[in-house]
């Protein structure tokens, strides 16, 4: 193999700097072995938005000529390694309108590797990762997804661990020593990070995946119209007005069919309809108009539209009515209100089970206060486990707890 292509699939903004470090680290590591490389973000993702899946790429080649083949393009057609730094992206990636749902392993070559940071088992992940018409390897680094933001970075060594893992996956391009040297020299480098890279190299778990394994769901796709099929004047039809839900009551908005947005979320709200006081705040404060209004005036978050921001949980005044739960606890986008309406007892069991899974892996996605990341990392190291960061009370803080 004379060249090596890598993509990093990540949560826009939260992991933008992480992805950049990884891709640059790949090129700089390969440079140690005398190879040429290019690192770039996908232009179509720009400007990135919080949570919306994005991709960066790193391409390494033996010669400049080979490298040129891959330059001045928006994205490679296939990659040797797909690095996924948030395992909820296993459910697929929808980066913009008309993109459709693209499996996490879509660009991975036959026999390539999907390298993921995850605390889930391969079996659990394979419920989400779509089947691929070619075999590949699933490689796992046991870690919580690393979320930061534009200005403050969480130094939890994820980039070092990924680079260490890559040296195990693609040793002919990235030797462990070269990787460690590049990390050492990086402006974000340190001895500790080199140690993390070596540990990750050691501890990497791999599993071959057959073409029969994975999520059988057919991901949705769109076909773009020809130039003469498009209306002139750069004009498209508006979204039609919504309708009442049932019997003239409630309300379901029409939604944009070309961009659903649910692959943006890392967690979703689970609603205890029995606790709801119908204050309307979740519905009115949701920037994405996710909530359908039910005939009896309850609010059901539409799971195709919900992007998991957590504002509903923050503003809800009723204790334990809305709880954000990590996305990998769910296997579909079914309506919670329909479930509740059909069988309230069954729903209560389901809901309770989901909420309690929170204590293992609630995500914090982003900055809340100065010193937060250092605290979290410290706790992680001390406890050897996972820090739970709870939500911050919203408008009616006095009414909670």
């Amino acid at each position: 193999m004379a060249h090596f292509t890598c993509e990093v699939v990540y949560r826009g903004i939260f992991q933008k700097n992480l992805a950049a470090r990884i891709c640059r680290g790949i090129v700089l590591s390969a440079r140690k072995a005398g190879r040429w490389g290019i690192a770039f973000g996908r232009y179509g993702d720009s400007p990135q938005r919080n949570g919306i899946p994005a991709k960066d790429f790193a391409i390494v080649a033996d010669s400049q000529e080979e490298l040129e083949q891959n330059m001045a393009r928006y994205e490679p057609k296939e990659v040797d390694v797909t690095i996924c730094v948030d395992d909820t992206l296993s459910k697929g990636v929808e980066s913009w309108a008309w993109y459709g749902l693209q499996p996490i392993n879509r660009l991975t070559v036959s026999g390539g590797t999907v390298l993921m940071t995850s605390l889930q088992s391969p079996a659990a992940l394979l419920k989400d990762i779509h089947k691929k018409e070619a075999p590949y390897t699933l490689a796992l680094i046991r870690a919580k997804a690393s979320f930061s933001g534009l200005w403050v970075y969480k130094e939890d060594h994820t980039e070092a661990r990924i680079l260490g893992a890559l040296a195990k996956i693609q040793p002919e391009f990235l030797s462990l020593d070269a990787v460690c040297q590049a990390i050492q020299e990086a402006e974000w480098g340190s001895d500790l990070k080199v140690a993390s890279a070596r540990k990750a190299h050691e501890r990497l778990e791999t599993q071959p995946i057959k073409i029969t394994e994975g999520n059988a769901e057919i991901p949705y796709a769109f076909e773009k119209p020809k130039w003469w099929e498009m209306r002139e004047g750069v004009t498209i039809p508006a979204i039609p007005i919504g309708k009442p839900m049932e019997g003239g009551k409630g309300y379901v908005p029409e939604r944009n069919p070309y961009f659903k947005k649910y692959t943006t979320r890392t967690m979703r709200p689970v609603i205890d309809f029995d606790k709801c006081v119908k204050c309307t705040l979740c519905w009115i404060q949701c920037p994405d108009s996710c909530f359908d209004v039910t005939p009896e005036g309850l609010y059901d978050a539409n799971m195709e539209s919900c992007c998991g921001c957590g504002v509903c949980e923050a503003v809800c005044p009723a204790k334990d009515c809305v709880t954000m739960v990590r996305e990998d606890a769910f296997e579909d986008n079914a309506s919670q209100w329909e479930m509740w309406r059909t069988d309230k007892a069954k729903y209560t069991t389901w809901m309770t089970d989901k909420i309690h899974s929170k204590e293992h892996i609630t995500r914090s996605h982003g900055f809340r206060f100065r010193g937060q990341y250092e605290e979290e990392i410290k706790k992680d190291l001390e406890q050897g486990g996972i820090e739970i960061t709870a939500g911050i009370p919203g408008e009616n803080a006095a009414g909670k707890k």
């Binding site: 130039w227 498009m230 209306r231 002139e232 750069v234 004009t235 039609p240």
Partner: protein, 409 residues
Amino acid sequence: MAVETKPAGAVADHKEMLISGSEACAEALTLADLDVVTAYPIRPYDTVMQAIAKKIANGHLEAEYIVAEGEHSQFEIVKHASTVGARVFCGSSGVGWMYAMECLTVTPPLRVPMVCMVGNRALDDPGAFGVEHNDALVVRDLGWLLIWVDTAQEMLDTTLLAYRIAEDRRVFLPIAISADGAFLTHSQTICQVPSRALVDKFLPRYDRGDLLLHPDNPITVAPQANEDWVIEIRRQNDEAMKRATAVIDEAYADFRKVMGRGPENPWFEEYMTEDAEIILIGMGTISLPMKVGIRNMRAQGKKVGLIRPRWFRPFPTERLVKALSKASAIGVIDRDYSFGSPFNSGVVANEIRAAMYNADKRPPLLSFICGLGGREVTLEDVAKAADMCYAAAKAGKSDPKTHWLGVRE
């Protein structure tokens, strides 16, 4: 009882008026029942806005007349008025037109049929008010329809034709009518002004159809696009510009029928070209000294003719090439410049060179730059150009060097 006689040249259902190019435009706008117009002062075009203000103040025209705080806003305001179905007019000159440039780029893809007058004026710096054509020419790649007129009559007629053509659903592109600053905008000549009844027969209402921005037609106009969409959108504009040719021919034919007058050839004026050995080319009022010069040369036995292009976009390639092929040499006099272009020629010369490239007969082509910043084009300049063309015709080939006429050197 005295019988009322009409002066020679008068036309039925028209009245005669002594008006400048700007005023002629205002007459046409009144007849066209303009809805919204925006004004901003810059010389020399803004006499048209002054004329429109008078028309409104004296009750001849009902329109929303808005004085903007700059040309960018001036053009953006009428762009938006057009999207809700209003018939609009705007205009500028020189750097004012440049200040509106962002709007000028977006109106063709938005398919906004705004009709504008450009009072051609030299671009700053230096600040100068005299005529040059570069201002209007700047938008020649963007999808604008471009036409140059040389008399007040032509200004009036072209304004009416402009609405008919631009607002045709097959076209829906903005149009700039160029009128040489001072020479046309400010000079008054006798014009035949049609009646409202005649104009109503010729000019239909503006109907934006399925592109109308209105609550009864919910649309999103100009969503953001990427590499998956842009080239298709551009292709649509390409097609619209191509369709404009047939629409232009149709509109002029209808104009002649309704008004009882008008040019047979919309695309360019031919003056003494039937047997011409040398054909000179110039746009706008440069045609006037050129015609005088040609008559003088004819008296000396020199068979010189003139082609004055009206439509610059769409460029009437085939027709022009056919008309030029019969000449022994061609001389293009540009009232514009294009520094660093092939042969450092003017814009028109390079376009005609390109048009002639594949022609079976390619006479020698000489390029001249003259009359910049309002400098008069003299009979000596015209004679010199013609003589150089004769030399090239004799030699059988053209000197590609561009000649600057009338420069103190």
